[in-house]
């Protein structure tokens, strides 16, 4: 297993990053850290996906000198998917950061648990 993992080093790293990001997103209390965790998780998934398209010894999928052999280029599909994914991740980041600003304006805290408690108390008034 270890040997296989050392061959799949990009995936291994991607998976470790995914775990780290997932945990930060789920269990860190600071909202900004949570958002960073989300970003780490997303980029880890993209690294995983992009490494699936890589083929050793082949070139960028941009046609040069009219060469159109399959054996010349790497798989272009994952790159395209990741490109789409990056846009999605920057959109959600912007949205969550603006929510964070509004919540901080209101409750003067970045701690999600604290915000939830304060919001509950505010509702009861």
């Amino acid at each position: 297993m270890i040997q296989h993992l050392s061959l799949n080093i990009e995936e291994t790293v991607a998976v470790i990053l995914f775990g780290v990001g997932f945990t930060i997103l789920l269990l860190h209390r600071n909202l900004i850290k949570k958002i960073m965790g989300m970003n780490i998780m997303d980029t880890a998934t993209y690294l995983f996906l992009a490494s699936k398209g890589y083929i050793t010894g082949r070139a960028v999928p941009i046609v040069v000198d009219g060469v159109q052999e399959v054996s010349a280029y790497i798989n272009p599909v994952p790159s395209g998917l990741v490109l789409t994914g990056i846009v999605v991740s920057v959109s959600t980041t912007a949205l969550m950061l603006s929510l964070t600003i509004r919540l901080y304006e209101r409750y003067h805290s970045l701690d999600l648990d604290e915000i939830l408690i304060l919001a509950k108390e505010e509702e009861q008034t």
Partner: protein, 88 residues
């Protein structure tokens, strides 16, 4: 090349973990920015320059700017509150 890649990947993990454990928000944002730049290099190695350009412009550029702005906004709010407390 392979060794270089391994070093970069190791740096990625170090960055991600230190984002989780840094106390100061500004520091962790800067670490996160360097994480994006490392990712950009890795995508160059994986033969995807499209992704590298996008990551450099978006991940290291726009996303980091948004994080900095949020932090700045939060500090401004904090400062105002302190001023009010001193007055009151």
């Amino acid at each position: 090349m392979r060794l270089f890649e391994c070093i970069l990947l190791l740096c990625l993990i170090v960055c991600a973990v230190s984002v989780a454990f840094t106390r100061d928000l500004l520091t962790s944002i800067i670490i996160f920015m360097s994480y994006s730049l490392l990712m950009c290099l890795i995508w160059m190695i994986l033969q995807s320059p499209d992704l590298a350009i996008t990551e450099a412009a978006v991940g290291a550029g726009v996303t980091s700017i948004l994080f900095f702005l949020t932090l700045k906004k939060i500090r401004a709010i904090r400062k105002e509150e302190q001023n009010e407390q001193e007055e009151g």
